[in-house]
């Protein structure tokens, strides 16, 4: 379609092309396939809960609390652990990452130990943490913290190490002191990497909290999974799994929004 715009120039409306329609429909198709697969599997064996059954279990869960905690209470319990652990991980991770990324001596002092601790999965800490701190809230948050802090440290360090020399030259040319060099030149350079680290940490924290809850908790979405398994209540397991998926995806959306807020210049391409 050809139209004439304000300046009298002819231009074209951005038409909705068949391609756009395809891209719009494809996600729904994949969800459709997933539901179809679910339907097929559940119709083969009666052990696998069907969609209707799961939906009914979901409605029941809304009415009837488990361990005296309502459904949203379990979600909030998991989120609370994640948020506290993440905030602590952001503060500690950025501080430690900056220390080893900005100071070569600190890097060589801490680097080896850090590289040794890094590959240990957070869940492997559970026994030690449990015998040391018991089974309250703190040990769970600590495990989540361990899972979240590592990507933040790694990305902060990598971000600072990859600051381009030319920006450091500019810092020197305009007589930045060491502090300004770090805060006004290097840190902003490293910010996109740090934020990417926080995004990774958020999804890691969400996974770790669920695993930690499955091993010993009286609340939380992970606890619902265990509870469903123990009570042979498979619809409950599915409700919990779907909740985990939805909230994980929402967390991803939120962190992306925060990224846009923190790095406004990244939006301009």
């Amino acid at each position: 379609m050809v139209r004439t715009d304000k300046n009298g120039q002819k231009g074209e409306f951005k038409k909705t092309t068949p391609k756009d329609i395809v891209y719009f429909i494809l996600p729904f198709v994949s969800i459709g396939f997933l539901l179809l697969l679910w339907y097929r599997v559940s119709s083969i064996t009666s052990l696998f809960p069907g969609m209707v059954q799961t939906y009914e279990r979901f409605l029941l869960l809304l009415e009837k609390p488990i361990m005296r905690v309502p459904f949203y209470g379990h979600i909030l319990a998991s989120l609370k652990r994640v948020v506290i652990a993440l905030l602590a991980a952001i503060v500690v991770g950025i501080a430690f990452g900056t220390l080893i990324g900005w100071n070569k001596k600190c890097d060589s002092f801490f680097g080896t130990v850090f590289n040794f601790i890094r590959p240990i999965p957070p869940l492997a800490w559970i026994p030690l943490i449990t015998i040391t701190f018991g089974i309250g809230e703190f040990p769970k948050i600590l495990i989540v913290f361990i899972g979240a802090v590592i990507p933040i440290v790694l990305n902060t360090r990598a971000g600072l190490l990859s600051v381009e020399q030319i920006y450091l030259d500019v810092g020197q040319l305009f007589d930045a002191n060491r502090w300004q060099m770090l805060w006004e030149v290097a840190m902003p350079c490293a910010t996109p990497a740090i934020v990417a680290g926080i995004k990774t940490a958020t999804s890691a924290a969400w996974m770790v909290v669920l695993a930690a809850e499955m091993l010993g908790a009286k609340s939380g979405v992970g606890f619902l999974v265990t509870r469903g398994m123990d009570a042979n209540d498979m619809p409950l397991v599915l409700v919990a799994m779907i909740t985990i998926g939805v909230i994980g995806a929402l967390l991803g959306v939120i962190t992306s929004l925060i990224e846009r807020l923190i790095c406004p210049w990244m939006r301009i391409k």
């Binding site: 030259d169 020197q172 040319l173 305009f174 007589d175 300004q180 006004e184 210049w265």
Partner: protein, 254 residues
């Protein structure tokens, strides 16, 4: 104004560096020259001849192997705040807006926000970028970015302004416009400018004096005094004569 007061004295400067293959390369070889107060000095030399290395030594970003740089009679050690620089690659901070980029010099010196903003504004106006203060560098064209680079350098109030092939990455049209701008700004804001280029026409258009360098290692071939009246006419007979004289004496860079 004393035309021939020496502000910067470069004596017997030599610098070698190691290239990526580990070979030792002599970039600058025993170079000496004087820079006069408020002059527009052009350093002209073929690409890769060691000009940038020499500038980085003068600006204090690199240590010389030999020789010294004296500013107002005092030996320069490291970077002197009296020397400002406009970089070939502009190097604006992508996370800062135009005005924030322009004011970094005074900001880092601790000048109050009101005062440094005013100063930055005035130089942004001088380079013709009023209205773009809140834009990010990624929203600007190459020529506009380099204007910000120039405003940033002036806002820091250097006695000597080094410009390292600032227009090398610009298209021909923009380049002519920017050459005019730089000549205009220099006449409005008298300051010593050391301008580096590999473009003979640009050198003749801008320079009061033109120092011609050989290919690497950079040594001085000849110094030309250019007293053609400004604004200069690039197709006048005298301009062409000077241009031909210099180009006949230039090492080709390939």
């Amino acid at each position: 104004m004393d035309e021939n007061k020496v502000i910067l004295k470069i004596s017997n400067l030599s610098k070698t560096f190691e290239d990526k293959k580990g070979n030792v390369v002599r970039a600058v070889d025993n170079v000496s020259f004087d820079v006069y107060d408020n002059e527009f000095l052009v350093l002209l030399g073929p690409g890769q001849c060691g000009k940038t290395v020499m500038l980085n030594v003068i600006a204090g970003l690199l240590e010389p192997d030999d020789g010294e740089v004296r500013l107002d009679g005092e030996a320069v050690n490291g970077h002197s705040p009296k020397i400002g620089m406009v970089l070939q690659k502009t190097a604006l901070m992508p996370w800062k807006t135009v005005i924030e980029n322009t004011e970094i010099g005074p900001k880092w010196k601790g000048v109050s926000k009101k005062e440094r903003r005013e100063k930055a504004e005035s130089y942004i106006k001088l380079v013709g970028l009023s209205g773009f203060e809140k834009s990010y560098p990624a929203q600007l064209s190459g020529g506009m970015k380099q204007r910000v680079g120039i405003a940033r350098a002036y806002t820091n109030d250097p006695e000597i302004l080094i410009m390292d092939e600032p227009f090398g990455a610009l298209d021909a049209q923009t380049r002519y416009a920017m050459e005019e701008e730089v000549a205009r700004i220099w006449q409005q804001e008298k300051r010593t400018v050391i301008f580096v280029t590999n473009n003979i026409e640009e050198a003749c258009y801008l320079g009061d004096r033109i120092i011609l360098f050989s290919e690497r290692p950079a040594t001085i071939k000849e110094i030309y005094v250019n007293d053609l009246p400004r604004p200069r006419d690039m197709i006048s007979e005298e301009f062409m004569k000077l241009r031909t004289k210099i180009s006949d004496n230039t090492d080709l860079a390939i």
